[in-house]
Symmetry: D2
Subunit: 476 residues, 4 copies
């Protein structure tokens, strides 16, 4: 007898139920907001303010307040960009911390006579320092997909706050809320496979992949072949939205070329024979969760899972981009090449240039034509020495003002306790790879016994863990 239609039918029934609630909210609880126009002109602001106040006043109790907040959130979704900015401006200016109340609470703390009184006064001060909008933001969780709504709202706030500091406190409020909800141990680690993942989820992976673009569904399928693994963290209330995901290849020996790794025509290997797991892509999928990090947890838990499933795995490493190398090099070259290059390198480059173009070859001119230099074997040969040396130097020695390494990917892996293991020449000859790092990639090695020490040495004294090979390269 007819069984199921599980996915579709129940799903829609409950969605319709939620819509019904929404409509109630729209009529009963959303009278103020129903007629707001997309660009939220001045005329609409008083109604907006009134609805916001109504949410906070809790008329009818918290259930009704959430219904009103849902109506408000729905109105927000209908706003255009300028309307949203105006909406968030009201939130920033009019639902901020009550400063006189904070001052009074501070006075009470300072006047507290004994520890117990002090504790009570501090509790009140903490409460006073919470902006009233925090409660409103929390109520938005009552929207269908409310938590995704808030994640996306923070992405918008982050963008606005870069233009205007007015939005920073709102953004900070929202970040604190999301940081609590996205505590790493509230998340679920899931493996993503071609057989089990829905098309809707894979479509999102394709869209969110940030390191090596997924070019087609065939490319996606190839990344889920039996010698590949893909894992992602999910929030239980956002089951269709990956938060961060990692792609892994099970291979023999350290992989040294990403085009080869992603080549759909390369036959699938027997994963039981692999000795190395290569993490070749890690992508954050939600802009609105910037600064709330799970990447380190993801890598280490995936290492544990893979080690459990494949007894033959000996090495866990990445094949990573070096996104800051070329930008740094361009900048360094602008001061003139003599500072950067060794005499022998300069000389060698000149030779090449003479032959190929009839002009004096320089590093700058040679790699100038981003798209083609790597196809000329002679040029490649001449560039390999200086570029590899400079790249090793960039990675290990160039620092931010706070003493951390300049390259963001390097900073991430060093913070996780990995070590720089090997530089790979012509490892990514995609236009992106050439533009970012002159085609060079690096393997970071996660070695169980030394992760804690590496982390400690880096986060403390800024010491970079690197193989002797890379260290030698950097010295030239």
């Amino acid at each position: 007898m007819v069984e199921a239609t599980k996915a579709g039918f129940l799903d829609r029934t409950l969605r319709n139920l939620r819509n019904a609630w929404q409509n109630i909210a729209g009529s009963e609880y959303g009278a103020e907001t129903a007629s707001m126009r997309p660009h939220l002109p001045d005329d609409d602001i008083p109604r907006l303010r009134k609805q916001m106040l109504a949410c906070l006043a809790s008329r009818g109790g918290e259930v009704s307040a959430r219904a009103r907040a849902a109506a408000l959130g729905r109105a927000y979704l209908n706003l255009d960009e300028s309307g949203r900015r105006r909406f968030l401006t009201v939130l920033a200016q009019e639902f901020d911390v009550d400063r006189p109340a904070v001052d009074a609470a501070i006075a009470a703390v300072l006047a507290a006579a004994d520890p117990d009184a002090r504790h009570r006064a501090e509790t009140k001060l903490k409460k006073a320092m919470e902006a009233s909008r925090l409660r409103l933001l929390t109520q938005f969780n009552g929207l269908p997909n409310g938590i995704k709504f808030l994640v996306d709202m923070r992405a918008e706030l982050l963008s606005l706050a870069r233009q205007d500091p007015l939005f920073k406190p709102v953004e900070a409020d929202l970040k604190a809320l999301l940081a609590a909800w996205f505590d790493v141990d509230l998340l679920e680690l899931q493996e993503i496979t071609w057989r089990s993942a829905s098309a809707a989820l894979l479509e999102r992976l394709i869209a969110y992949e940030a390191v090596h673009a997924i070019k087609s569904w065939d490319d996606m399928k190839n990344r889920l072949a039996s010698d590949r693994r893909c894992f992602a963290f999910f929030h239980p209330r956002m089951p269709d939205e990956p938060l961060i995901f990692v792609e892994v290849a099970l291979v023999s020996g350290l992989a040294d070329n990403v085009q080869h790794l992603l080549d759909e025509s390369v036959p699938v290997q027997d994963p039981q024979k692999a000795d190395t797991a290569i993490f070749y892509s890690i992508s954050n999928a939600q802009k609105g969760l910037a600064g709330i990090s799970f990447g380190n947890f993801l890598i280490k838990r995936v290492v544990d899972l893979l080690a459990l499933e494949f007894k033959g795995l000996k090495t866990f490493a990445t094949l990573s981009p070096i996104p800051g190398f070329r930008p740094w090099l361009e900048h360094a070259l602008s001061d003139g090449e003599p500072r950067l290059l060794l005499p022998a390198e300069r000389k060698a480059l000149k030779q090449v240039a003479d032959g190929s173009r009839g002009a004096k070859g320089t590093l700058k001119t040679l790699i100038g034509n981003v798209a083609t230099w790597h196809q000329d074997a002679t040029v490649c040969e001449a560039l390999r020495g200086p570029l590899m040396r400079l790249c090793a130097r960039y990675l290990t020695q160039e620092r931010r003002p706070d003493g951390k390494v300049l390259d963001p990917v390097a900073h991430f892996h060093l913070t996780n306790g990995a070590r720089m293991e090997r530089l790979n020449w012509l490892a990514d000859t995609s236009s992106n790879g050439l533009r970012q790092s002159a085609g060079i990639m690096i393997n970071y090695l996660y070695k169980l016994g030394e992760i804690d020490d590496n982390h400690e040495a880096y986060t403390g004294a800024g010491k970079v863990a690197a193989s002797s090979a890379i260290r030698s390269l950097a010295k030239g």
Copy 2:
């Protein structure tokens, strides 16, 4: 804390477990078959026979016998086409019904003195008439995906039996087995959605779609939009393999053009406002289940489900191809046009032709250029009358020797109790549509109150249910 990896991890663990069993089977139970060569030369036949006999002998009990059969099935999978033919030849010739035993059992039936003795003798006769290979075929179910193995083996047998009647009895044995296992009420009806269906399943739909090819993943997604539905029957032991699936569009009024229906740029409609459900594609997905039909059940259960979800639906109809029209027409035209065309039609066609090519226009020449005639408005205008009339005649009057209508799709829907409702001109201008039916499509109407009567009238007296419009058309 790490949760899940449900799909992937457990799946593989159990797969490995099965492989372990397989390997045991390979060594312990499959010694005979392990070394068989892909083309199964004469030298290998004795070992094959020995293994087949071992399965039937049940040494060690049924558990061991299934292990041996699994080893045998694995060997079959490694054979090439000629090897498989030889394998099945052995099955056909050497594991057939034991004729002397049948004769003896028949004698016992004829000699039975009383009803009880007769019943016992008949039971023995039935048993004697079962070919010994039937037991072997059943044992193959113990393979991983054993049921799919058998479905695919029947597809091969069907193809072989068309060349050589030797294979017919094996094919018939297998059909009987599968018919029992695929009883419609053992199947599950599932709705397929973009959010819930796995990529692996959708990939199969794309491959199996037999009516209007799915051109891309975007096309697939469009067919699962909120104003579309897709349902399939599944066997619980073949969860990733649809047996038959139907695609439905929720629209207003009878759809008259399939390109429009499938156009990804057409905005999605609100399905709650639809008054008509159009079944625009039904595809059998498993060749090996030919002759075991569930299409009628699928249509009627989907009608029930849709009626439950959408109270506004008044009409359930198809937009169907007419695959046999052009072939029939070509054949009919070979006898000369005068018999087919009315004088007025002939005259009109000549006019057109004079103008456009300078030669006498005929039906044959005008539709001769399959790819382009429909783009010429004058030609279209002239062809419309005769083609629509002839198509209506073909559908309603042309018959097979058994009195049923000639068109296979028409036969399917009439058997289900539908009625021919409307012919649509230029409804499918794809090259396939033009080639099959000169671009004409038809709506079959499923009207709750008349389904049983229509079925009865058709399967009994061969009476075709058709609207008066189609009837008039046919008369000309």
Copy 3:
């Protein structure tokens, strides 16, 4: 936001949908059966017959026929015992094989001139030998829980057929149908745990347990503790109904006492330290599947699963009842004790008796008081020798006319290839254990390497695999 209510809500929605279909069936398709009375008086028989014929006539096609069969099945469920007998009598008498048609088909077979003609004639004969009721029975599968309906109907037929051979052919038809549907490789092996099994399922286990009654929910929970396992086979279309289930204890050494094994106050052991898996209960749950056996598959697959999970397991054995020992002993004693007992045994028994009751002790009198003898240490001591010896003899030497061992449990395990390993004195002192086997239990050992040989030796020559200890015991 509201999520779920998955189980309940969807479940009922679909149930209501099915009920709606049923009601349609009740009105449209079930007019004949709606008014039938529970005891099905003669007046109702014509309407019953008419509805049965309507199902077979397929008016309106197979979909309508199943709807009519569903109405008929619903009518059956409303019948009382005598009504059901009358219903099944009609099925047996009026929808039997068409004998003249069989005779004609036989004649055609005998007249066939060539192999192909013979094959075609045999196909027709097979078809002719199918009773028309078989199709009706298949159609009942369209009822909600149709497959359970048919399983239960066969249980009723088995019971009726014991009284009247008229019902045997119907029962045989149904058995053939169910045997195909319950092919072991269509079933699912599931582990049953306290955390995952529904209360409804556990309630059924409690009801179906046939060896050592489950006395309470606490007893049930104890049998699912972390050092226990419970597995069952399920049919995918009867997900709430176990077909057969086995209970396993993970222990150290061969268990020798079932009360100890089931004692809820015994602390849970660490299963990782266990070296032995004891199968202490196997229960068939569906009477209607009698003769369609999966017990051997269940045991062997559970052995495989346990071996996969617990690397420390070295021994797989049962702790089994000996249900036929006391009945056999009673019978043997009725011929007088001298034949059964050794002189020394007789003498020893007399001593005991003198002391305890002042009368001459005999085996008969001593075990006469079933409830108490085992509590008297002196009596126990005296009985141990002769009872253990006789039990070993009973198990290994007493045979059925077909040469198989008399004890049904022994026959089951020997057929599976197990060997009799050890007899355990006072191993089951429940009233049932004392009544069946004077408290003695036996361990059957499943030893991977010898299962096939044991099976072969037993099913062939009737040779019983037994340890030397048991063999010695039997010799006395």
Copy 4:
């Protein structure tokens, strides 16, 4: 082929994986805590402190810190009551807010020159006011079932804080953390049914039921019959632990007797014919979530779901206990009856008493024998008037110092916007019912249109919504 063992096998595999992590934590990260003794003597405190500091120091990064916290949490689970108190004392005293840092941060806030500086200073102050233990508490989430660990720890802290204010700040820290994680819109509403709920879950319902004890599994099953519903909120990371659950009966008319409602021998009604949903039990299941309330959301969402499923439901009401009535009455009677009773009531009571005991009847003496008075029809008749009047007065007029009603259940429902609808005499004659409220129960009515107004009137002016019947009763 073997399928599943889904629940059990994967579950344990992942549990073992977690245990493996735990063991690593135990050796590598938990060296300090491994040897701590259950009562945590003074000698162990330095090691405890060292481990706590190690968690906060984040040596090796956050992943390692969580591993250390997990080791610490495991040590906590091994402590006895006094050990836990000492553990929490260290947390309270040594990982409190850094007061000098707070003072410095306050000074910075007061000195801030502009809004942006003020915001930055406030951000720092907020951070400074967070006790360092908060981070440690959050890290405990990394334990298996970490969130349940923290919920239970808060239950212990609540109990300790009642004895010693030292624990209040720790408890407050934990409450804030849990309040964020248990935001109502992060929870899942699930229906609990006999067919789908696991035995483990039902066992917890039986244990947690706080209003009308569930006496047996049969009682549990009866409460899940087809005319009953049970719903609970769950946290996605605590799937086996209900947070709060409600039991509903679908009946005709307002229920007036809870024993009748729970009587297992009363036949199940057709829920489609019910016009009233009676919420007869609401139980909070987690002591550690006290003060984080979802009861109002639960009731209103269940109302919505029921209204969706049963179109015939017109009335949503409770049948509720009045737990504070008898205690209040006892207290009031201690001031003498004349103040409480009307002259006519006093007189009537005397009559009764004279007859039955030969002493002057008073309210006090008559209801003194809690267990039996309700069985004496004459006594009942005499008591009904005064007790019903006093109960109505107690419910509507007796107030807490903050102006809210004295009865806690009444306060809960009035806050939710319900109204007092009807008092029911002899509605709960269990010993608990007689002891709490002299057997009287009340129906609170949830009427969609007036919920918000009722809530507002009560939370604002303290106005009690009551039917005119109850109002009249109270007046006498």
